[in-house]
Symmetry: C2
Subunit: 473 residues, 2 copies
């Protein structure tokens, strides 16, 4: 990202956060130049960009102002009301159908949650991989130690400090991606037939694991700003024999919110009161747009009740399949389930990630992608506002690279998905995010790629399909 | 391996197979030189080696003879008699205890089933890995297609032809090692509480999967030459509600036998008659010492009843975590279980293995390691005969790199394992290979490393520990 784009981002973020309101005068070019330490021309270019994007307007001889006619941000998705009860999940056929389809190389994939793999700050990771293979190290070929590579576990404990967690390397087990961490954790604390609380909409990989383990879900109403309803959760725990709770409280997939700390604490109090193990999916936790890095619920936990699951699939690259779990008091069972599921994880990617982190590459990469993703979010929301029909509601992610879009209720998102795929645009239909058919007029979009003409065209195409009645029931 | 060693191997193998008996005259040096196309001096060196190993003797002016005083090979392990009934498996604590211990770098690991990673024919695989990372291909970083990389699936179907299998790439699913293939297959065809037939002794990874899935095992008597007892199997199928059969018929771990084709066919007839899915672990199938490559049971199967599981962990390197499954008629369920367990497998190792196979590296490597392993087997059996107490019985592997040793019944192999580990030698105690405490005076030894002083010292140390009464009950 160029300097002027960074400046423009800072300003648009301040406007979005209400520091400047519609019609407000923005700081002068000279003032900003002095304050931010950039040249006059950089600030001029930044203002030009904001003007082009319709965010600011110039009034001759007066300066730059927040555009009065700037459209207000779209409404957040609604929190549907429904009766909460344990339900069987049976969406595998749908998930498989979508994953089995191949997209051609020139198509636009907004469906799967793949991070940006083309930013330059990822190159040193490739170099670490290359160096490890060049050295011809045999270690990369041998079975890994049952907990995973020690170098990597050490680096993970260092990173965990940022989220308030004090872990030792012996408390961390490397897994094949976060999926193995989640599935092993679920298997460790439940038996078939048990009931598990999830946020809703919920990551379809978790729902698939729940389905495959023969468990029932309790999908609880989830606020697009504050997360899972604690009131509903308390009622559910009173009413049903809940055996586990699996949620993504930080930069939730697909809703993008970050649960405030006080709610994270309250949630922990709740599971403690009802003696329920909590599986915390923190896979997007490092991808927040604003400092500081949010705390994990695990960081408040003093009794080993929280099983923290994460991976480098969203922060670095999913093809590495390097995830991890800090299983707390459930260590023995979780390790058993992880061991039998794949014995150990591929060694070479683990060593490369450890090397990359220790050289500072991970921090540099995070800094870069956070700003790419924030910019992507702004563009994507802008395009949706422009091209999607009235009544469309959009999430306001505070981290990660996924947008949750609620379309007008008459839209059939499954049909829309099929049509869009035929025209070369992949999206994730909302039904995948519920085990019981909710969110049939929702889609999830990925904005990880650097925003450009191709992405705008894709959003426009989706908008046209919706407006033209494709996928209308 | 040098030429003269190859010649010596051919001759010792012919002696072992009874083509030449004790006291027989062996072919003249000139004759062998002409017949095998090697120089006179190579044949001379080969005979010298055989003489040093006590296999042949020279009679002046008469030529080379099979040593009359050559010890006869040790007896094969006995097939214990016991009542067959479904039993719970509960050996995880033992397995974990052993896997959790770390061995120092200079110790000798004869415990885990790690192949030889230091032969030169593996180097091109490292080069394939390096080339893929150097090219900075993004594909290695992205999520893999749900079935795994197409290049690799194509190569696997080509290799499968050698075992009589006619597969299409769409019938093959890449997994994270054979363990994920086995666990996903088991989960696909059973429910907790079900009963599964296994050969006995049985690979502990399979037993762990059975334990973790809440299944019961029927451990059937298994002959060290012919494999699982088909008579016992028929009785078991009559008597118990068997839901699956999981066996390793080709170069069995730990017994090393290869089931003859007619018995493989009969076994298939049996599972067909009782409508039982058969999970065939073929992970050592490519490692036979003699041509042709044995057929898989899958190759006789016309109705998709056999789920064929394999990997490159034993033929190439376990740290790659590249395995595969051909799930036949159970494809949808197996794929579901595989998907939720780790979503997809690490991409880079898959691409490297595909590249390595397509360049002919896999065939070259197999040729090399097969002869290394055959030689390792001969040395290891020789050393055991020399250093272990009378009454020791040893398997006679026809492929792979694992030896099953039955010690005198008063030996406590668990205690022996602990003592040996303290002195820097790791072995796998027999109890891991049964879910119900069988094989308490057995150990499994790995002879994959090129035989040398270190390995001989290790075997001697084990022999001394046993003879000195360490580990005697």
């Amino acid at each position: 990202m160029k300097k002027y784009e960074q400046v423009a981002n800072v300003l648009s973020d301040q406007i979005a956060r209400g520091i400047y309101h519609n019609g407000d005068r923005l700081p002068s070019i000279r003032h900003l130049s002095e304050q931010m330490g950039y040249s006059i021309s950089t600030i001029q270019e930044a203002y030009l960009l904001l003007e082009q994007r319709g965010i600011t307007e110039v009034r001759p001889k007066s300066g730059h102002f927040v555009n009065r006619r700037q459209p207000s941000p779209p409404d957040l998705p609604s929190t549907p009301e429904y009766s909460v009860r344990p339900e069987e999940t049976s969406t595998w056929a749908k998930v498989f159908h979508l994953l089995y389809q191949t997209q051609s190389a020139d198509s636009l994939s907004l469906g799967r949650a793949v991070p940006n793999l083309s930013v330059g700050t990822l190159k040193p990771l490739q170099r670490s991989l290359a160096a490890l293979t060049r050295r011809g190290e045999l270690r990369g070929l041998s079975y890994d130690y049952i907990l995973g590579c020690e170098e990597l576990r050490k680096q993970i404990t260092r990173l965990a400090v940022d989220s308030g967690c004090n872990l030792s390397p012996e408390e961390v087990v490397i897994t094949s991606g976060c999926q193995e961490a989640l599935a092993s954790s679920l298997r460790a604390v439940t038996r078939p037939g048990d009931t598990v609380i999830v946020d809703s909409p919920s990551f379809y990989g978790s729902l698939q694991a729940i389905e495959a383990c023969g468990l029932k879900t309790l999908e609880l109403p989830t606020d697009p700003r504050k997360g899972i309803s604690l009131e509903a959760m308390q009622l559910a725990c009173e009413q049903w024999p809940v055996k586990a709770c699996l949620i993504t409280p930080t930069f939730n997939n697909p809703l993008g919110y970050c649960m405030p700390d006080n709610r994270k604490r309250k949630l922990l109090d709740l599971v403690r009161r009802y003696d329920i193990p909590l599986i915390e999916d923190d896979v997007y936790g490092d991808l927040g747009y604003a400092a500081p890095r949010p705390r994990t619920i695990k960081s408040f936990d003093s009794e080993g009740r929280v099983i923290l699951c994460s991976s480098f699939s969203k922060t670095l690259a999913p093809g590495l399949r390097v995830g991890w779990v800090a299983p707390g008091r459930y260590a023995s069972r979780v390790m058993h389930m992880k061991y039998i599921s794949s014995m150990s994880s591929a060694t070479l990617p683990q060593l490369a990630v450890a090397d990359f982190i220790s050289r500072g590459g991970y921090d540099r990469h995070l800094k870069r992608v956070r700003s790419v993703y924030q910019r992507g979010r702004d563009y994507m929301i802008e395009w949706i506002t422009r091209y999607f029909p009235e009544g469309t509601r959009v999430s306001s992610p505070q981290g990660g690279f996924l947008l949750w879009v609620e379309l007008p209720p008459e839209v059939d998102a499954m049909a829309l998905t099929e049509r869009a795929l035929k025209q070369g645009v992949g999206v994730a239909p909302g039904e995948l995010f519920s085990g019981s058919g909710k969110f049939s007029h929702h889609i999830r979009l990925n904005y990880a790629d650097c925003p450009g003409t191709k992405m705008e065209k894709g959003v426009k195409l989706l908008g046209n399909l919706i407006t033209a009645g494709s996928g209308i029931r």
